[in-house]
Amino acid sequence: MRDGKVAIIFKRLVPNCIMKAKNERRKQYIGSQIDDCKDLSGIFYLLPFQKGYLVNWDVQRQVWEHTFGKDVMNLEPEDTNAIIAEPYFDFSSIQEAMNEIYFEEYNFKAILRTNAGTLSAFKNRQEEPNQLCCLLVDCGYSFTHIAPYYNGKKVGSAIRRVNIGGKVLTNHLKEIISYRQLHVMDETYVMNQVKEDVCYVSLDFFGDMKIAKLKGQENTIVRDYILPDFSHSKRGYLKQDDTKLKPHEQTVRMNNERFAVPEILFHPSDIGIQEMGVSEAIVHVINNCPTDMRPHLFKNILLTGGNAMFPGFKERVESDVRSMAPALYDVRVTKPVNPITHAWEGGKLLSTSKNFSSLMVTRDEYNEHGHSICWEKFDV
């Protein structure tokens, strides 16, 4: 975020949802207010997004008002330029509503609407100016997009979407744990943490399956995870081998679930979704690009989005793509230090670049030309 005169840089991640706790009869937690919540069991979510697209504006507005308000950022929208990241192929009615709300309701000074991937690709281009192309993989909450970029511009016709994201993984984990061990269907928050803490992407899937079948010491995969009870502990953690369980502690045993859940990213057909997995999709997308671009795309694959945080994700993509790519092409996969905020960093960088102001639409321009200028300038 950039202020008219002074550039203030502070990074805040705010959950984009409203949450309700089981034991709080009246209070709703908007965005980062959830930090004040002591009992996170059975959190009920109101999400503004469905399948990756903004549909619940009432919720979204409350989150925005909270975020822009003095609780979080304390903005003066009239003096603020905003960069808004939208998903690829955002529906036109959503795009227009976005313009309306940001200009007419919040009165922002100027906005730039773009794709998160474009910001990431911009950062990648700044850091590695000699790379002509970038294949951006944005593996997020609702879906995964694979978008080729050429000279910092996206190749729209080749962008493809795999309908697998973190949400499906968490829900699937909840489903199988509830069926096999313990009813956790209501514990989205806790099970998401379990997923983040113990799941990993296997580099040898069927080999790991064999290990997971073994008993006792030989099984190096199985882990016991102690669930939080929100009176003794606020967060779950891995049980150490030699410790004894205290009477109040409850565990789930994670065995093949540890790697079979993230495996869905690479084989959606494992749960009956007839789509290519991430690695196969990467190769498919590259092969749909002009021949001259392909070697450049293979050697600059950039992984962003929360699922890139799974241990082994990068290595798996690397080895899968390597095995499917023509032998004479180099394959290089990069995972940024923080794949989640990479797009934000890109936006930060963009806001300090020379031609930033030419990319934006100001409030005056919007008042003069309406939506047409936004359609002209923004490439979402």
């Binding site: 309700k20 706790a21 089981k22 009869r25 009246r26 209070k27 709703q28 059975g42 009920f44 979510y45 109101l46 999400l47 469905q50 399948k51 697209y53 549909v55 504006w57 009432d58 008002e65 909270h66 308000g69 609780d71 690829y88 192929f89 529906f91 009615s93 959503i94 007419e104 309701e105 009165n107 997009h145 729209g156 962008i159 493809r160 979407r161 795999v162 309908n163 949400k167 499906v168 829900n171 909840k174 489903e175 199988i176 069926y179 096999r180 269907m185 209501d186 989205t188 069927f206 079948k213 093949n256 079979a260 057909s269 494992d270 009956g272 789509e275 290519m276 997995g277 196969e280 498919h284």
Partner: protein, 161 residues
């Protein structure tokens, strides 16, 4: 003559059992799968804990302080009925709109990745390990007799999801 002979023939109990078993047709199986996949997109599985609670003032007190002056009034104006209707579109309505608007590709619908070229892998519906067998009644996979038993006792034909 031949028919009579067949009826009097001794049969094994297991085969008799098989004949009595209900077998789900492909339509029901596909419906089940679709419901399972829909469940994976669900936000919550529990009831809204505040479902029957009427919140008198939807806004939390924190907001009142910084919105007491002009901006609040402005916002109220735009919050008319037209606003609400235009913004109350479900995801399916949006996709339908996209279909009808005949936007030239690329768009949301053309961006979907095609099915994989490799065949599906099979995993036991009970324990998650690779499986070699298919349940005759419902088509679920299982890996051993023990898992088949669990499957028949818990899901198979009983599962209504």
């Amino acid at each position: 003559m031949a028919v009579v002979q067949e009826q009097t023939k001794r049969e094994s109990g297991r085969i008799k059992d098989v004949n009595q078993k209900r077998v789900l047709d492909s339509y029901t199986r596909a419906k089940r799968l679709r419901k399972q996949l829909e469940a994976l997109e669900q936000d919550n599985f529990q009831e809204d804990p505040q479902a029957n609670l009427v919140i008198p003032n939807k806004r939390l007190p924190q907001f009142d302080s910084n919105e007491g002056s002009n901006p609040a009034k402005k916002k109220k104006k735009t919050r008319g009925d037209h606003f609400k209707q235009r913004f109350r579109k479900t995801f399916n309505m949006l996709v339908e709109e996209e279909q009808l608007s005949m936007q030239e590709p690329p768009n949301y619908l053309t961006a979907c990745i095609p099915p994989s070229k490799t065949p599906d892998r099979k995993f036991c519906a009970v324990c998650g390990f690779p499986s070699n067998y298919t349940c005759v009644s419902c088509g679920a996979r299982y890996c051993c007799v023990k898992c088949l038993g669990t499957h028949q006792d818990t899901r198979c034909l009983k599962w209504t999801v």
